[in-house]
Subunit: 189 residues, 2 copies
Amino acid sequence: MSTRNHTRQMLIETTAKLLQNQGYNATGLNQITQLSGAPKGSLYYHFPEGKEQLACEAVSHTKNVTLANLRSVLDSKADATQAVQELLMVLAEQVDRENAELGIPIGVIAHETAGSNENIRKACCGVYNAWIGEFENKFVACGYAPEEAKEIAVSINALIEGSMIMCLTQRDSAPIRTAAKLVPRLLQP
Amino acid sequence: MSTRNHTRQMLIETTAKLLQNQGYNATGLNQITQLSGAPKGSLYYHFPEGKEQLACEAVSHTKNVTLANLRSVLDSKADATQAVQELLMVLAEQVDRENAELGIPIGVIAHETAGSNENIRKACCGVYNAWIGEFENKFVACGYAPEEAKEIAVSINALIEGSMIMCLTQRDSAPIRTAAKLVPRLLQP
DNA sequence: GTCTATAGCGGGATAGAC
DNA sequence: GTCTATCCCGCTATAGAC
């Protein structure tokens, strides 16, 4: 029973990491099984619907992990502006540290599958909505009106996503740092 | 000579469209040749280095097309804030109209290849820089200080890119419309 | 310049022993 | 539950006739 869960979990975590760095189409089942140490046979035992199911569960797993991180960073500062800026600085340092082998949690797969795979698209949708909800809660807690909090949350999430793509493409943390500088404008009352 | 150019051009334009909607890894050479009406033999005649070269030229072609559109929209309004909002409204209408089969010009391929293909990565980098330059010029022309103009340009580009990904993932133009609402905050002096 | 045929590889998925 | 062997397919790339 614990073996079952362990193998399953390894497959999900390995897939999550590969999806983040390479995307859905570039990530093969062979690579997943080799890296996770699990045999291909057991992959289809644990995920009878194959690659799509595995990807959905990996995205869902990523959602849980990133949401916990996001919450903890946002909670580290009482002020909304400072909290968002702190988050962007954490991301900027990630870019500087990992540079080439960095990925945005679900950016690539969300982009790739938006028009071609409904199940994965919905899973990614759930991640974005969860992130936005987290920002929203923070802003409401800081006194923003509910409607305004939601709008700012959506655009903060978009700004981060777009800035990170540019960071990856340019191999430079400048875009996310620039975004951090402009956050006060977006968050002003 | 004109045949040569015509076939070449068709291949580039077809590839550009497919890359936009499906990304690099999901787009096959067979699909490109079939859709463009060109035979596979002639593909390798025109692009001896194969898929990578074709993709680079397609990205470069997309750069020219999008840059002309961007410039024309930004020029349609004298005021910087109104010009950017106009652009976002054009994009929102595109999302509403095409919904499923919409793509961001180079978003997917930029994301996919950032960590795995230097040539394509650089080509995408060139597109983002060109777009940012266009915004920058507009803002400088509207009286912003050069440094501030550049910073805002970078973040506007990021906001658009991120909002569009969310639009595609959610199949809804709301995120880009929300961004439009918040543009005045980013652009305020 | 154009086209066909095919090589060579890796992908996802399956069958069946253990 | 695990593992191997294998099927079938589509991909990129190439060879060579025309």
